[in-house]
């Protein structure tokens, strides 16, 4: 499947899908943190595997990434990226503690971050299931806190085993007060993208 291209219409439809998924995800995040969350317009692209790092990873930046595999009618990978320097702040908000309380990243804190990833990505999938009728479930969450490029590189390698290109739906969720920016990446497999486009088409025609 070399050089996949999206038509403008398909891109618009996928952006709308991204909006719906992320809208639900942002609501969940807002509820968890007790803060308003703004969504940016999602970015939908198909790029060669080697370009994924360049696009996503800000060189040498340290991130916390929660990674889940998605199984079912949609086969995909999902990654929630949080800036490492705001992790303690996020945990304080989540556990309803006074800001500045959390100072170490122990088992409970790691579990909390993983659970945020799980809840946000599940909310995204729930919205997709409701909108286009494709059901899917996430795996248990996995966590890495390290250089962004090393983490993204590892996911890219997994994608490279499947095909030459990566299909990316990128959503940015921002908490304005503290400039907390989290990125939600959904990477559907190419066969699933075809299924998603067909389901989108049926949904649009049906309504």
């Amino acid at each position: 499947m070399q050089n996949e291209k999206l038509t403008d219409m398909q891109r618009d439809a996928l952006k709308e899908l991204g909006n719906i998924g992320a809208g639900s995800a942002a609501t969940a995040l807002s509820q968890l943190l007790g803060k308003d969350i703004k969504l940016n317009v999602p970015d939908v692209t198909i790029i060669p595997i080697e370009k994924v790092n360049e696009k996503i990873a800000k060189h040498q930046q340290i991130i916390a990434a929660v990674y889940l595999r998605i199984y079912g009618e949609i086969q995909a990978r999902a990654l929630l990226i949080l800036p490492q320097d705001k992790i303690f702040y996020i945990i304080d908000l989540l556990m309803k503690k006074k800001l500045g309380t959390t100072r170490e990243f122990g088992e409970n804190e790691q579990s909390a971050i993983k659970e945020i990833g799980n809840i946000i990505i599940s909310s995204y999938l729930n919205a997709l299931a409701k909108f286009i009728g494709l059901n899917s479930v996430p795996s248990v969450p996995a966590l890495a806190v390290d250089m962004a490029d090393a983490i993204i590189q590892t996911i890219s390698a997994e994608l490279a085993e499947v095909g030459p290109d990566a299909f990316l739906i990128e959503n940015e969720m921002v908490e304005k007060e503290t400039d907390l920016s989290t990125t939600l990446l959904i990477l559907p497999e190419m066969t699933s993208m075809k299924k998603i486009l067909k389901a989108l088409n049926d949904t649009i025609k049906g309504s």
Binding site: E115, S122, A129, K130
Partner: protein, 121 residues
């Protein structure tokens, strides 16, 4: 007498959240499991009044835990608490024998309302 509750979730943070909601409301958390296998063992040993379980867990998933327990304890009060709120999966869980379903992230009031409703029945 205070009702006995068993919690199963692979996220310790989630178990803590539920504990923080249930204990002040007068429930006793008699056990915590971090995977499906442990949950089944603890249920058989502790025979709780209510069992709240996650869906996606290592070893054995939540729905299979429900199926396994219902075979031996057909009246078990099992509540699924999962981030997955897709209708087909909720229905599957209920068909397996779960009494109710809570979608994460949850509100405190919603958790207590669901658990009280089941106990009163």
């Amino acid at each position: 007498m205070s009702k006995k509750v068993l919690l199963a979730d692979d996220a310790s943070f989630m178990r803590m959240m539920l504990r923080n909601i249930l204990e002040p409301a007068g429930f006793t958390i008699v056990g915590e499991a971090s995977n499906g296998r442990e949950a089944i063992e603890l249920y058989k040993k502790l025979k709780p009044d209510v069992f709240i379980t996650d869906m996606i867990m290592p070893e054995i998933g939540g729905i299979d835990v429900v199926r396994e327990l219902i075979k031996e304890f057909p009246d078990a009060n099992i509540i699924i608490c999962s981030a997955i709120g897709q209708q087909t999966l909720v229905i599957e869980a209920i068909q397996a024998g779960a009494k109710d379903y809570i979608v994460k992230p949850f509100e405190q009031a919603n958790v207590l309302e669901t658990i009280n409703k089941i106990i009163e029945k």
